[in-house]
Every structure is written in structure tokens, then in C-alpha cells.
Symmetry: D2
Subunit: 258 residues, 4 copies
């Protein structure tokens, strides 16, 4: 995913900027054309160029050729489900301690946004076991994970996690599903000592229910948070927070295996 060579090769994903904050992600495929809002470019022209070079569309619009990062790929993911926002992905990954080498169980897979974030961070030696009951979602997630080269780090499992977790001694169990309480006993069995349970939930009623279950099962350090992310419009003499913001995405509940 993060190729170091400075030359665009066939098959590379590239990020084309039209302006300081407008961009498109595309694959450099021989004999294909890339359609942008500012005109068409020929992939054959791009392949062999250096990253950082500027090319022009048939309408004369200059485009900067650069490398996508993991987050750029996320924006290209197909979405068939409600997805978790980057602000929440960031806190789920960081506060759960998931990192290189971690073994993580996740459900449900959905469109694979959280799966991708986890896979990105457990590389190269960790693994994500992702449970999903809907086969159509698994297929979307598979395509999304392939797109950014993260499929090798993930086991997509067509199975209801409520029926049990096959893995043992895992570092974290991370749930984005409406009924996480049904998974708590399985999570307790699957987690290693000190392992982290995480649940992402939109309503406060679900939060009450999962916290009650976690306390009943003697989990430690039960913590519930929500975050608000505010974007600031910065311009000399006219600096102010943006008028509109996302007021709520979901609550994140963390706990440690007892």
C-alpha cells in the first residue's frame, strides 16, 4: 500500500489533486482513461511519471499526481451500511491499544471501514477476524479491503458472532452491532487477561444495557465516551469554527477483561 518508489507504475493507486483540497483517487491501468470533474486524463501518460509531477486533462486543467494514504482509500470505499467516522475509528483503535501484532476479533464487518482501520494497524504480524451475518456485506468489505491491500490481514467470517467466537487469547474484541450484550460472555472467553472489549453504539439505551452487562460479568475499567470534532475555518482575520458540525455519531464503551 505504501510503495516507496517515486515512479508511478501500472496498477498503482494514485491521488490526483485538481485544487488545494479537491482530489480523486484512481488506479493507473494501462490503456484506461480517468474521468475527473475537470476533464479526462490518459493513464498511459501517468504511468512512468514521478509522484509530485503535474499532468493536464484534455481540458487543460493541471493535476498533481501524488500517493494516496490509508485515509484516502477509506473515502473511496463502497458504503452499504452506516459507517464509523474517522474521529471514532481513531479513538477505538488508540484507546483499545490495538497496534502492530494485535489479534483482534470484530463484528459486524459491514462495509469494512472499521475492519480496514484495524487491519491497517495490526500489520504486518497481527490479524483481524471479522464476523458478519450478511453475505452481501462481506462481499463489499472484501472489495474495499482488496482496494487498499489490507485483505491479507483479515479473515472475513460468514458467521453470527452471537453463536460464539472461535478465536482464543485475543487482544481485543470490537463490536459495531446493535446487540453487543449477547457477545459479552463469548468475548470474556476469547480475550486474554487485560484484553480490551469495545462497543460502538448510537443510542444511550444501548450503552446502559451493555455497561450493565459488562459490570455484571465483572469487567474492569468500564469507560463510556463520546467525542465531538470541530473543524476550524482558518483565514487571517476571519478565523472561526465551521457553522455546521456532526453533533452525534455514537458512544464508545471500553472495558477490560477481568
Amino acid at each position: 500500500m505504501l510503495k516507496d518508489a517515486s515512479i508511478v507504475r501500472e496498477g498503482d493507486y494514485i491521488l490526483l489533486y485538481y485544487s488545494k483540497n479537491k482530489k480523486i483517487i484512481a488506479k493507473a491501468t494501462r490503456d484506461k482513461k480517468i474521468h475527473t470533474h475537470e476533464g479526462i486524463v490518459d493513464c498511459n501518460e501517468i504511468i512512468g511519471k514521478k509522484y509530485g509531477d503535474i499532468i493536464t486533462t484534455h481540458l487543460g486543467q493541471p493535476l498533481i499526481v501524488t500517493r494516496p494514504t490509508f485515509l484516502d482509500f477509506l473515502t473511496k470505499f463502497k458504503r452499504k451500511t452506516q459507517v464509523i467516522y474517522p474521529k471514532d475509528l481513531a479513538l477505538i483503535v488508540f484507546l483499545s491499544g490495538v497496534g502492530p501484532g494485535s489479534i483482534v476479533v470484530e463484528a459486524g464487518t459491514g462495509s469494512g471501514f472499521l475492519t480496514a482501520a484495524l487491519a491497517y494497524y495490526v500489520r504486518p504480524d497481527g490479524r483481524v477476524y471479522s464476523y458478519e451475518i450478511r453475505r452481501d456485506f462481506l462481499e463489499i468489505a472484501r472489495k474495499n479491503l482488496s482496494l487498499c491491500g489490507l485483505l491479507p490481514y483479515v479473515d472475513l467470517k460468514h458467521k453470527d458472532i452471537v453463536d460464539g467466537i472461535d478465536e482464543k487469547n485475543v487482544d481485543a474484541v470490537i463490536l459495531d452491532m446493535p446487540n453487543p450484550w449477547d457477545v459479552v460472555p463469548h468475548a470474556k472467553e476469547a480475550l486474554k487477561d487485560g484484553g480490551v472489549f469495545v462497543s460502538f453504539l448510537p443510542t444511550i439505551n444501548q450503552v446502559e444495557k451493555i455497561v450493565e452487562k459488562l459490570i455484571h460479568e465483572n469487567f474492569l475499567d468500564v469507560l463510556t465516551i463520546e467525542t465531538l470534532l470541530r473543524k476550524i475555518k482558518v483565514k487571517k482575520g476571519e478565523t472561526r469554527p465551521e457553522t455546521f458540525m456532526i453533533g452525534h455519531t455514537g458512544y464508545i464503551v471500553f472495558a477490560r477483561k477481568p
Copy 2:
């Protein structure tokens, strides 16, 4: 840091819980005693126990022996400087795309909290080059990084980053210093195409100054955010956000190399 064996060995760091959310982190050193608020325990008794076992202090208080995670270590770090909160560390790491294998330049090292977070996520093949002008801070950071086993992934450099960045083709330059604008031209040279520049700043005036500089240097996707983290007290029938919260830590400015 994340040993899988289920037995506590000499030299292991262990996490001892007195209650559901009170804990201490300590090293299991032969012939040493660990003093807790609830009494003393003998390390010789702990070594050889299994993680998850319960031991008792000389006052009869039961303690659960478990494994610390990366975040537990952060709480044990010595602090000689203002440190970045986990909510901000999470977003800096995630939104900069820093992950396994990333090459990151950071300044100033300070007490090493951000350094540790970056080192944790670039493992095992990436590297953090951390610049600091104060030798005493470098020593504290060295101890903190040693504590959690992350020193092997970090180059602590006693050098003013304003004088230049030695590294080339890096994935990210991340600055927690009062005058990041003086580093922008160096960052531009050091970053690979599409590489990410990050600056963490407490005041809005610094934000205006860095954003102006980044735009002047043609950086792309300049984004300024701040986050508010709210803890929720969850108890059946008495659920409410906590009365006190941190109202401001700092702004995070992101940009991409042009």
C-alpha cells in the same frame, strides 16, 4: 511489550487491580516488594503466577494480576512537560496515516508521550526520528520509552529541528512545538509526495500563523480541527455526562505535501 505467555516472568511489567477501576503498574523484580494503597505484595509471590490470578496484600486486599497495555504505560510516564492527551494522540496518529512501517519525524520530544504513541504504531519496521533541544527532556523521554519497550524504534536526536531535518522521503512530520512555521520549509523537503504535516498547537493565533505558512508553501488539504471528549457516567436510571470535562487541549493542523 505484549508477551503472550500466560505466566508472569521476572522483569515483566504487571498491572494490579485493587478494584474495578483502580490499578497500579509495576515491574516484577525478584526480591522486591510492591507498595500499593491497599498494602504490600512480594514480587517473588507474583513471579510464576498466571495472568488473571488473584494475590493478596499483607493487609488482605485481593489484587488481580493482569497485563498492561500501551496506554497503561503512558500513565506511568514521567512528565516534565505539558503532555498531549490520548484523545489528541489518537487523532494525530490516525488522521496522519502513521502506521506500521511509517517513517516519521517528530519535534519536540518533550516527555516522549507523542514519541511513544508514534513508535508504538510504526513498529516493527518503521522508525521515529525525534528532535529535542533540551538534553534533560531527552533523558526523561529515553526512560519513558525504555519502560514500555519502544526505544528500539526511536532515534532521539539532540538537535534543533529549526536548523533542518536530516531525514528524507518521510511519511509524516509531526510537530508539538511553539513555532512550527520555522520548520515548514524543512518539512516540505523531508516529506515524500503526499506525506503529511501535522502541528499541535494550544492557541488559535499559532494556528493562524501555521496555516498561513502552509498555504504560502502550497501545501494541500490544510485542515484544522479540535476535539472535545465527553465521559458519560452510565448507571441504570442515573445516566448522564460527567459534570467536569476538559474544555480545550489544543488544535491539530494537518496538511499534505504539495
Copy 3:
């Protein structure tokens, strides 16, 4: 505005609810018809009915006839300018101490939202002197204030407040204009001892400039705040904050005459 009689009389403004949170405000004018989204009603049928009665449109939709409050009128105001949100009006009125009997100077009038809020609260013995340089705005404000019966409490002045304040010994000077610093010396002269200066400003740069000016002029208790209002979707078992919220309207700066 707040007639106590329980019978709808000709000329009354009435509030018609179609559903639990959809409504229209209209004037009961003999021989006129009111067009709602759910059909037409004849005013002659409404006049003489009791508040609380239900009438039906020509489409058979039942409507509850009720009395508008001050806030209902605000929603019917014509807007030619950016207007101040209720959350900010509330804090401006309350934290400035403006109440019945207060003498208030305000600029600029704009569409008259803040003027109306101030007039509503200074009744019956106080007065609002509202300065505006644009005659077209004054006309809109005049219509809006007439609509809700508050015009008798307001002097609409076609004058640039930067040229001076005619009134003396006033309780508050409240400014919703881009250059309040030009008014500070006039405000100092016009305010009584302990009188309150308020400025509503969208950008942080304006806030810095007005605060600097106020401190330079020895104003006391200089305080700058912003508020975030979050709506909660409450439904048994599905309670959560609303997804979208207003992230920023403006900062409010308060100070006391020295």
C-alpha cells in the same frame, strides 16, 4: 401580544398546529382565508372560536387553534440579514441583566431579531434605542416589530452608531456589528456605572480586537463565551443526540463600565 381572553378575536395572531410539531402562525382577519400545507381554512370560522378548539381545513385536516408566544413570532420575521440564534439571544439578554425597565442601546438593527428580544424584556417601562445605517433594514425591522406588537418599546434610529450615542445613563449597549471597537468610547460615555457592554461577533479575530479595546478603556469583568446547543432525540429505547448540529454561530463578549 399576550391577550388573556380565551376567544379568538378579529386581528388576533393565531398559531395553528397540524401535527405535534408542525404549525403555522397567521392573523385572524375577517373574510380572509389561511392557506396551510394541509388545506385552506376560513378566518370567519376561526374568529369567535375558543383557543384550544379544533377546526378542520377544506381537506378535512384537523388544526388546533392556539396562541403564539414571542418565539413563534420570531420564526415569522422577515430576514434580510444574518440573524442571531435563540440560544445566543437568550444569553445576551440574561447575562447582560437586561430586564423590565432597562434602557438599552443596540446596533445594528438588522432584521430586528435582537431588537425584538430586547424590547420584549424591557417592557413595559424600558426602552430600546436601535441604530441602523441602512434604511431598508430599518423598514424590515419596523414590520417585524409591528407584527408582534413590540414597536411601541423601540426607537428605530437611522444613524451610524460610530458617530456617537445620543442616550445617556443606559443599562446596556449591545452590538451586533462588525466593528464594535469603534463604539467603545461612545458606549463608555452612554453607560451608567456598572452598565453592561455586549458584543456578538462571528470571528475570533474580532473578539481579540474588541477585548483589547475594552481592556485598554479599563472595562471590568471582560468575559468571552460561546455556546453549543445540542438537541436530543428522545424516544424510549432509541434516545440519542441529533446527528447534525450548529457548530458555531458567534462569540459573545461581555464587559462592565469601569
Copy 4:
């Protein structure tokens, strides 16, 4: 309370500033002394001075003599109960439409903060009927309301509002009590058409319960909000929100009589 004369008279409450934001409120009583953190002043010396004059303590500290506003009095109120913050008082008053002439029913009186805010705004022709079951709280509220001259606008009633509301045709029923649902049927009877019901509640569970009750009783425009107030430290070149803030006080539920 808001005497216009510019001379301090015996019996006046005065506000003495030691510095730009430190102050004390005191009564100018002949032959009494006022003890401040910066020394003692003799009331006889203050009586007859003009507001805005400067006097000095026996330690030579200059004090500015000025007039208190309603909010200054609130800070001097005795507190025997949890009190409602100004940010919430402001929204309760404003969004309920309570203003000059309003007839308001309130419970429980508590220390009288909300009572005072309501009384301040219904003057001179409105009235606040405040119910409280604890006689000791009523006595504190009586003293607090006397202090700022608002007692004439209030009926303090030693009665459990759950047993019924004596008043009819009121503009608003405003409840700061743990079990507001028990009052909803009484409120429905007491309110005039279009009248506003308000409940201030610390927990989300109480909010769910009152909203359910209000909807069951066919109340209109049921709205639940919470507000966050952020203070900004403004200083040229060092401007930033304050580090600590109040993260939660309570939710405010509004509804209209059906």
C-alpha cells in the same frame, strides 16, 4: 433594585471592585464596616459618594464603587441545594417565553435561583407561584429573594405540587424537581392554551420518562436540549478556550399545552 440616582444611599447594595474582575457585593449600612480581602472600608464613607467613585480600604487598596446587577445578586445568594447555572436559566426563561406580565408556576423553590430569574423577568405585573415541600428551603429562598428586592413578585407556597396546582390559566409551568411526570396532568390543567411546560433534569433517564409522559398527554412541540458553555481566554497572540469547562449540568425539556 435598579435605583437610578447616582448617589449611594443608606441601604443600597453596592458592588466594590478590587481589580478588573474581582468584586464583592455589600449593603451600605450606616456605622457598619465592610471587610474585603484587601482591607476594611467604613460604610459611612461610602454613603453619599457617587457611583463610579473610588474609595480606599484601611490598607490603601482602591475600590471602585458601582451598582450590582441582577446577576451580581445571584452570586450572593445562599445555596442549600444544587442550583441551576446561568446558561440554563437564560435558556429556560427565553425559550419558555416568560417575560414581563407572565404568570408562572414553579417547583421546587430550592434556594430560589430559578425563582429569582423568573421573578426578575415577570416584573412588574406578572407573578411567580413557587411550590416547595421543605420549609427550610423556603426560608432560604425568601432571604435570597428579599436581598435583591424580588420577593414582591413571588408567592412562596409550602405545598407539594404533586398534590395539585392552585393557579389557572398560567403562561408557564417550570419544574426543577426529580419527578416532574407526576405534575404533568396538573400542569395541563393549569396552563393556558399554548402555555409552555419546562422541566430541567440531570439524567437522560428522567428525560425519557418525562417526554414519554408529555407525548402520552398530547403535549405539542416537545423539545429536549442541552447546552455547553465555553469560556474563551482572550489575550493578543495567546487566545484559546479555557482548559476546564462544565461538561454537563442538565437537560431542558420544553413542551406546549395541547
